[in-house]
């Protein structure tokens, strides 16, 4: 029971054999490994069923563009779910914000970047409104955001009532979810050079930072993973990165959507793991009263989470509108379902206090791979919902079981 938690930083000095170490790693991280394996299996299945169509560079780029708006929502949702709250309104907040962006650009000739900025501010205001209701008035988040679902759906319809679907002509705006980063001018090697360059830089950065962290730990005399395991992990990560990069470089390079998701992911991952705010979020999710008595301002942190959620919803709306190159009254339908499912499939605990945004992204990839793959196979949308529901419940059931064993 006790030596399960021996990760690399534990202070114990026990020397264990390589086999034992790997067994321990698997035992500790079984939930994560199962998820990776599931993702690979799902991808392999669709590749087989579509005669290789799924894994083609073109489709992978497509998948990333499709997954971006859900991934952004799911990251924000993970924070909300860790805090034991929920936000059901995100879909229509996204839809509404996307519509406002389109209106600003087409009817008021606002520059697309300014429009995005304004829309994010609208998101912030919505977050403040819902967050204050939850923290100051004390209305449960479920009710607050269910009411929000009604209201923002209404506002979305209202804002598009006169015009119907608005086509967005702005090229820069539409590139967000359809375009790719440009290549270095003058280079023509038959593949996207800048993408490969970014890949190499990323791999080098990962290796340097990992080695630095390991050195630091050894300086403090903390136990670290053995050299073979450490080297294997580095090689494995590098190969995965380069594989994805290679596929993308063979087509048009890295999509802008991937860059945006990457930045959001990096910021939230850093916030949750390295900063005080992150600690407080996990603490409140684990035991809000204990957190309060430890000097944490629970209300302020919760308010922040709702604001961040709605701002990300606005960003998600921008990405979705950009993807369709138009704002439609049906935008936002069932986004919250995909976002919540991604977060739970990614291992966020149903009882709160536990969750990682990096795993949420894997969850989002699982959900969007299912959508994309089944679309390629021509599976009817009704069946798609059923399949997603089954995968979702299996993931959470597995999660609950493995956790209760610990």
């Amino acid at each position: 029971m006790s030596d399960k938690n021996k990760k690399e930083v534990s202070s114990g000095t026990a020397k264990v054999g390589l086999g034992q170490e790997i067994a321990n790693l698997v035992k500790t991280n079984i939930r994560d490994y199962m998820m990776y394996i599931a993702l690979v299996l799902i991808m392999a299945f669709f590749t087989w069923r579509t005669h290789g169509g799924f894994i083609q560079a073109r489709n992978i780029s497509n998948l990333i563009n499709q997954a971006a708006y859900v991934a952004v929502l799911a990251i924000g949702m993970t924070v909300i779910l860790i805090l034991k709250h929920i936000d059901l309104s995100v879909g229509y907040v996204a839809g509404f914000c996307g519509a406002i962006a389109a209106i600003l650009m087409t009817q008021y000739n606002v520059n697309e970047w300014l429009a995005i900025l304004i829309v994010m501010c609208v998101g912030l205001v919505i977050g403040l409104y819902q967050g204050l209701l939850v923290t100051r008035v004390g209305v449960p988040a479920f009710v607050t955001t269910l009411a929000g679902m009604f209201m923002f759906r209404g506002l979305l319809n209202l804002s598009l009532q006169k015009t119907g679907t608005i086509i967005v002509p702005n090229a820069g705006f539409n590139a967000l979810s359809n375009g790719f980063i440009p290549d270095i001018p003058g280079v023509n090697l038959g593949f996207h050079f800048l993408t490969v360059l970014i890949g190499i830089v990323a791999v080098v950065l990962v290796i340097i930072s990992q080695i630095k962290a390991r050195r630091q730990k050894m300086k403090y005399n903390f136990q670290v993973t053995s050299t073979p395991v450490f080297v294997f992990t580095l090689v494995f990560i590098s190969v995965i990165i380069m594989l994805i990069i290679w596929v993308l470089a063979g087509y048009s390079g890295i999509p802008w959507a991937a860059v945006i998701v990457g930045v959001v992911l990096f910021v939230y991952n850093y916030m949750l793991n390295k900063t005080r705010l992150g600690r407080y979020i996990y603490g409140i999710g684990g035991n809000d009263q204990a957190a309060e008595l430890s000097g944490v301002n629970v209300k302020r942190v919760t308010l922040f989470a709702f604001c961040s959620m709605s701002v990300l919803a606005a960003l998600s709306g921008v990405l979705y509108t950009s993807r369709l190159q138009s704002a439609t009254p049906t935008a936002g339908l069932a986004f919250e379902m995909d976002a919540i499912a991604s977060s739970y499939i990614g291992g966020t605990a149903v009882s709160g206090g536990i969750g990682k945004v990096t795993n949420t992204i894997i969850g989002a990839l699982v959900i969007m791979s299912l959508t994309n793959g089944m679309n390629l196979m021509g599976v009817d949308i009704s069946y798609q919902y059923i399949v997603k529901g089954i995968i979702f419940i299996i993931a959470v059931a597995f999660d609950v079981r493995t956790r209760s064993k610990k």
């Binding site: 029971m1 006790s2 403090y220 008595l293």
Partner: protein, 508 residues
Amino acid sequence: MNDYILEMRDITKEFPGVKALSDVNFKVKRGEIHCLVGENGAGKSTLMKVLSGLYHYGTYSGDIVYNGEVQQFKSIADSEEKGIVIIYQELALVPELSIYENIYFGHEIMKGHAVDWNETIVRATEMLKKVRLHVDPSTKVKNLGVGNQQLVEIAKALSKNVKLLILDEPTAALNEDDSENLLALIRELKTQGVTCIMISHKLKEITAIADTITVLRDGSTICSMDTSEHPVTEAEIIKHMVGREIDNIYPKREKKEIGDICLEIKDWTVEDPVKQREILHHVNLNVRKGEIVGLQGLMGAGRTELALSIFGNTPGYKITSGEVLVNGKPKHFKNPKEAIKDGVAYVTEDRKGNGLILIQDIKYNTTIANLEELVSGLAINENEEINVSNEYKKSINIKAPSIEQKVGNLSGGNQQKVQLAKWLFVKPHVLILDEPTRGIDVGAKYEIYTLMNKLVEQGMSIIMISSELPEVLGMSDRLYVMSEGTITGELSADEANEQTVMAMAVKS
């Protein structure tokens, strides 16, 4: 002649990596009160869970012989059918339901396909009479005090026709009066033929009530003592529990240097606006540098409310008058964060409820209240954090394989030490300890007392809230007694004894 109602033979129960019980033998005579004692983690609760069928047949080795027959309980329902009922420390009542609904919850009285509520009420009233609880059976359980809720649990057990009643620390959350009442009831049940196994940490009540005392240590039976053969003393029990003799439960301080007033409360009045009544009236209190001040009072006297309102955490309450002075400067703490900043720390009585974050590890819990000190730039210096937690783990002897151990998996005593580590890392001037040794075994208690002495020797001020009289008398330099939201007396260590304090505690 010995007629045993229960014999547990060579019970061994293993969890992955831990042998919780090894060849435990445990015999209970029919119609006796049998006390089961041992340090936390000694295996008492595990043994009772094996008996009740919660750890079902096949997950342990050994035999349970009940009424002369070997039993193979697959669930709690199986053992209850045979008349074995266990009442846990955390009461299993539904607060929003009435007393009679609770008593017959899970074994409703049926008339055809519907519940016969009239019959239920009649029988529930009978059961309440048996436990001498004179309240309307339609009262909601949430409106009862803890003591009366305990009685409802026993009434529920009686309604199941209990033959062997197991009580897990039944008096842990009760005040002296309620405890007395409960013990009297247990004695009465004995005369009606109910055999009772009681787990308890309160040695005084054990020596008063037990016919037989069995001591467990590290998953083994150490001894079983028959109190009719020779009277068993508390010292004797302690010796068996810890495996060595503790001469003095309350360690003496080597030097006493009491300085200036560090924290002072003047004319402190707090009101509950919902019920429109004052819960604290004009409280005056102070603590000096290097001093341990006891705050004694019965449950409900307002001690925790006082501490929390000083600490800036008053959900729903309103402070109507008074001031807090820290080192002579007036302060008004709007939230715990401000209090912590000014060097006041509050260690809660309810470590699982609002003290610790159980799903996180020792490291996390140690540093959560003072992350400011570990921050460089935006990020927390995690290596430094590991160092800090390891230091505290070592210096206050938290027994765990590593600081990455989840706090929820630790024993009560070690959880309490993690709480102390957390608040010591804040480096407070004033430490308010609320029931610091509740539900903790003798060995860990002694360590905590020693730590308290060390801290005041270093110049800290401690306010110790406790309902255990001997502890307050043994540790305090000075003590206040509270009753119904008022300080009813202030005594120096020399003036205080059980009689003077008790007299003040029941004064209104």
